[in-house]
Amino acid sequence: MKRHRVSLIFVCVLLFFSSPVYSRANDFEKIRQESAKIKTLQADFVQKKFMKILSRPLVSEGRFYFSAPDAFRWEYFNPLKSIVINFQGKTRRYVYSDGKMEEDQTGGAQAMKIVLGEVAGWMHGRFDQNPSFKATINKKGKTRITLTPVEKKMNGMIEKIEITLSPKGQTVQSVKILEGTDNYTLITFNNVKINAVMDPSVFQDVR
């Protein structure tokens, strides 16, 4: 009986190390070390929104800018022009109206601001440092990190977030935000430029 128990523990330990799904701090640390080399990042993105009410996904396109430690700009070109900027700890959202960008007055869509803020953190390898999410890592094939909200305030907003890292560098290749059954958003990044010179005005100027 005792021998069987020891065998069982051995098998479990073996499974733990061979299993692609685990959430060990050193994996995240490795990614963090890689990502620490990223000072600036800019990329185009294509966003596809899938919903039961839609027969085909709603496609949006835009550009993302990031500058360490936490400045970011999410700019959507179509179908709806909008910009979310985080600079010096302040997040602002702008919408296009009458030929110019106007600040969003609703103060709403907080969940969206949280997610966009998170993506900027992920670009810098900060996957497991937000207490609002439980992070697990899957290294089978492409590295995939799954974040599950643990805080009640996210209940009913986001079920989970799946982040796929690029095979070469440890930058984010795609983000899948699952909001519910048949309702998710897939953002795919391309034309990624790392540590290219970036005009700091992109985080202040919304024109």
């Binding site: 009410i53 709806l80 869509a109």
Partner: protein, 218 residues
């Protein structure tokens, strides 16, 4: 005190406005203007919401409406893909699947349902009068069971418009449609004169009829 006494009848008079006069005529008969959906359709609009003229937010609105059953589903999504509101409406029930701030209030759902019905579905009420307004617009007036009145008008240069009045004749909502001759839902403006005035500017992104065959396949 005298001012207050004077103000009361003024407010009373203002609240009891009269409906525009429809001149009944048999000289130039016409078919009632109908900007409403003829078949089940899916429409995606960029919607700009303004309160007292100031832009509040810009979102994507998805509507799937069936004029035959007078039922519809709708969703509000931010440009960033976050779904803020999802609901199904039918004459029998209202089912809200998702409602995040600032769209979580019951009043919001009720107003949204009313706005979608007003824009896309023909009035439920009976045709009360048909004729011409003083500006030459063809007009059809429908009396709703609530006592409200809906005027659907068409002017040679202003295009088709919908006006909803209270039973006392106060203008509550005003809808104008695209006049370019393309899709009538290409550009829609709704002005609401409520407790707080708001307007919706809707620009069409996608319109798609939902064929019966496609429905059966599903």
């Amino acid at each position: 005190m005298t001012r207050v006494i004077l103000l009361i009848p003024i407010l009373f008079l203002l609240s009891c406005q009269t409906l525009p006069v429809i001149r009944l005529t048999e000289e130039k008969p016409f078919v009632c203007p109908s900007p409403f959906l003829k078949e089940k359709s899916r429409l995606v609009h960029a919607i700009e919401n303004r309160v007292r003229g100031n832009v509040q937010s810009s979102v994507l609105g998805i509507t799937v409406a069936d004029p035959a059953t007078r039922s519809f589903s709708c969703a509000i999504v931010t440009a960033e893909g976050m779904s803020l509101f999802e609901a199904d409406f039918s004459p029998a029930a209202v089912k809200i699947h998702r409602a995040l701030p600032p769209f979580e209030s019951e009043d919001f759902a009720k107003n949204m349902m009313e706005d979608i019905k007003l824009i896309f579905l023909a009035p439920e009420g009976s045709l009360q009068s048909k004729g011409y307004l003083s500006d030459g617009s063809q007009a059809c007036r429908y009396l709703q069971t609530s006592g409200d009145v809906i005027d659907v008008t068409e002017h040679p240069s202003d295009g088709i418009q919908i006006k909803r009045y209270s039973s006392t004749g106060v203008l509550k909502k005003h809808v104008t449609f695209d006049k370019s001759g393309k899709n009538i839902y290409q550009h829609i403006e709704l002005q609401a004169y409520e407790f707080f005035d708001y307007s919706l500017l809707m620009n069409l992104i996608e319109a798609q009829p939902i064929k019966k065959q496609a429905q059966k396949k599903k």
